[in-house]
């Protein structure tokens, strides 16, 4: 069976996650070998995901960690002074 592009697009997310069945996976791979458009779509989507997981893309506010631990330190101090009164 020959897959068309639309069919490949429907499975692109699952294909990236490696969760399509073996047969479908093989068909998609065969399609990708010949289809520049789908290959480009797949690669661009994949690269977006790589960029998403890059810590520099979604940065924490400056000083976030310091403020968090300061607050936590106060809470810990409070709770250890009055262990039964949360």
């Amino acid at each position: 069976m020959k897959l068309d592009c639309k069919h490949v697009w429907e499975h692109i997310s699952e294909y990236i996650d490696g969760s399509v069945g073996a047969q479908l996976r093989e068909e998609i791979q065969r399609h990708l070998e010949h289809c520049e458009i789908c290959s480009a779509i797949l690669d661009s989507t994949r690269n977006i995901l790589i960029l998403t997981a890059d810590d520099r893309t979604f940065e924490l506010p400056v000083g976030f960690s310091e403020r968090l631990h300061e607050r936590l330190a106060k809470e810990i101090e409070k709770s250890t002074q009055r262990p039964n009164n949360e």
């Binding site: 997310s13 996650d17 779509i41 976030f64």
Partner: protein, 208 residues
Amino acid sequence: MQAAARQEAELIRRIVAGEKELFHELIRPYERMVYVTIFSIVKNESEAEDGAQEAVISAYRHLGSFRAEAKFSTWLTTIAINEGRKRLRKAKAAAESSIEEEIEEKEGDYTPAPLTDWREIPLEAVERKELRVALRQAVANLPDIYRQVFTLRDLEEFNIEETAEALGLNPGVVKVRLHRARILLQKQLVPYLKTMAPARKGFFRRGL
């Protein structure tokens, strides 16, 4: 159980037993996750930071109720999500608007955009700052239900089951929303991608 998970379980045991100071150490690897998760719901930096602090304090107070057979990251994420939702409800109530219903958008075009003059995004392009800015914007523009799934799965790299558990959804719904989120992002970002010069094929494959 893997070594890291065993170490974490031991850390939790000691904290519950009284070595409270160790909570700093326990939470450190997850700070970012808590912030990003709440940000994906409230979409506001200072709200997300306040929420992250509240969520961490709440996790500290309730650590005794954490079940050892659960995964700490999932448990913590659930707390973060609840905190985010609470804040969103408050913000929406303040704005006198009703809470958006979590329904699947049936309409909408979920087909990716073709890139005709292009082979593969080179590493340098992915390194470019403007692409990161564009991606942040594109993620912020996603419908809420898609952004939350996308954030846990692709930003925090939870698997499908963990994402489903944290959001109280079934895995099938997670997969559909994830697919749509990824396609919507691809479509939004194509204008930034297609001007890139071609590069070696297969250079930047993600092992998933």
